[in-house]
Symmetry: C2
Subunit: 449 residues, 2 copies
Amino acid sequence: MTDTYLNLVNTGFTKKLAKQLGLPRPAVLRRHRPGAPLVPGPVVVLDDAASEKDADTVAQQLLDWDLDVRRHAGPEERFGAAVVVLTEVASPEDLSAPVLALGPVLKRLAPGGRVVVVSRPAAGATSPAAAAARQGIDGVVRSLAKELRGGATGNGIVLADGVAPSAPSAVGALRFLLSGRSAFVDGQLVEVDSDAGELPTDWERPLDGRVAVVTGAARGIGAAIARTLAGQGATVVAVDVPAAGDALAKVANEVHGTALQLDITATDAAERLLQHVRSRHGRLDVVVHNAGITRDKLLANMTPEKWDPVVGVNVMAPLRITDALLVSEALGEAPRVVCLASTSGIAGNRGQTNYAASKGGVIGMVQASAPALAAAGGTINAVAPGFIETDMTARIPFATREVARRFNSLQQGGQPVDVAETIAFLASPQAGGINGRTLRVCGQNMVGR
Amino acid sequence: MTDTYLNLVNTGFTKKLAKQLGLPRPAVLRRHRPGAPLVPGPVVVLDDAASEKDADTVAQQLLDWDLDVRRHAGPEERFGAAVVVLTEVASPEDLSAPVLALGPVLKRLAPGGRVVVVSRPAAGATSPAAAAARQGIDGVVRSLAKELRGGATGNGIVLADGVAPSAPSAVGALRFLLSGRSAFVDGQLVEVDSDAGELPTDWERPLDGRVAVVTGAARGIGAAIARTLAGQGATVVAVDVPAAGDALAKVANEVHGTALQLDITATDAAERLLQHVRSRHGRLDVVVHNAGITRDKLLANMTPEKWDPVVGVNVMAPLRITDALLVSEALGEAPRVVCLASTSGIAGNRGQTNYAASKGGVIGMVQASAPALAAAGGTINAVAPGFIETDMTARIPFATREVARRFNSLQQGGQPVDVAETIAFLASPQAGGINGRTLRVCGQNMVGR
């Protein structure tokens, strides 16, 4: 769980040594701390001429957050973030001016700085040239994210046509991506599908009053999710298998929630879960299907004993429990379901056909379940972690682990809290316009495809 | 253009040495040779029970090609290919039996063997469980492709709901993926959108009688495209800038085509192209927008001189020329437009914001142009090459090149002919049901995203 190398290259004598030797120097990422500024310096808002009105809307939002906002980059300043608004580009030629204006800003981006590009989906374009411009932005975002250093990240927000930059999820995504909560989200484009959602009254506690179930909550990423959701105001129901009972009770107590020992693959799992929630909390607003297992084996040597439990825990249980929730009266008015996918489910991974089947399955499940959740006033989404520093990844042999954790644009593994923060965002009221999507939390992992 | 290391580890004493030292040993890929068998051994066709009828259709097609077909994997056989038909899976649990049956086959797959999985898109599923199963297959294909060795590849064919495995593009994609023509296509899923297209009378010459324009044809990938299209029967119009005139004439003569010196970014480029085609060949059936340039620079130091020409040549020229073609009377009855994208346009690349903008642009362009081409009886698609051995990549410094070329599941760069073969497939009559898509030719490159 500790990245010793990262600590060494950021401390004292070994920091100097690493610099002199030209070794990779992953930065200590800027993560959320209550009271710390949203961004580490002034924010410049750039646009192509046609998108100026939308850029003004974004700039006003940033001013409302008491940020120091510039509409042009002065020559000597240092910036905390750049937001580039390209919602109205009509041709690839329109990208030249605003992207070239961004260039000099990158040189003066503070450590932990942010670049966020706001655009529209190619699929909604009315001409091939406009579609080319829009999809070209995708290439620009993913390229510049690979160029940033010092723990800075580059991401995009893709607003469906008709969705304004003032829509709750557009604003919510912008704040999330600027903040330290998105520390390990890099090179990604967050798609906003609709105007649904509501801005919170308190950005530090958007989950106030919500009841949230977290499966696999006894340790690792699950425990971090429980802590993060509780920290943002939720009442947490921590679920894990009976064998993890002690650790589970500890987490539940720590977050002032309740614990439920449950095998999520049991036929009565959904029923028992709903019973617990109804009797202890009255209702249920958020479900995080975090519980997951791996049983790695090359497909040539795969067995039903290694295949079936992975599919059973990782995707069949979330399918069955979500089905049961949707017909339950215990479900709140704006439900949020968040599933754990994986970059292995997107890109595949050697030795993980079973895991990739299950995590790819989760991606298909959230896509297909989105209409039903929307009909219930809610959303369902997934996060896809890359290499995260946990007890599980700590068991990977040293050399393999060292390669895997450096193998992304941030040159380090993520922390469980990075996954948890992204889940908390998708569970929040402001994310109501994001539905059926899978968001990577992987530092722009080089996983192929 | 030569991968010396690949030659060494596959020849004589150095082959033994590499084996003893445990060095990576990229295989010599199985490429198409006229008269060689379609696959290097018997083909086993597997299915889940529900998909048996579709599997029978596929097996019959393979028998029609005089292949040695098995419906079950015997314990001692060696296989040239496995085709797994999973068109009717309804739940992730349905994947267990057919995927586990594939496992033992992988152990006995011949060098240059093939795995092809036939499935349906998650987006068309009628239940979350079916969508999960379908998207789970995506994860399985990409995982197993990373496990195969000896130049074997794993790919998928995703048939839109309602499209039968006997549809021309389903059959065409199956033959392409089984053959040596797809040597460097790995870990990819070919999407078939409709029943459109026609099977060729001669599989060696599907382009007989077609007139094909290839831009940037004087050298590298463009010259390979001209040769491959001509080899499959097309009359080729080789286009390149006047400065490349001598090389262009040589390629045009070699393929018994015509040469046209043309700056594709000139305002009258489309007009001059159409004039040449009308006067020399009467009409035009295939356009390959291959001409492309790079001007790499970190965005922080990017200039209009490096940005604008890249966007101008790589995406603005294809946009304008395609526009002009669509309203021209010279266009044949089943036109095919094929554009060159790049894995950089999909995943971004450090130092290539301009190139990624242009190549991402190409991907958006083909998506958005698909309806117009379909209305004209044709298709427009893109191929996205990864690391290809050309004069351009030969100029990359040794160490960087050596990493880049090994950085995929086949542990080597592709050859220009690999890109050309994929373009020829998309230009063929049998590919009429594939429209608006981008197909990677990258050996399952680890490019991040």
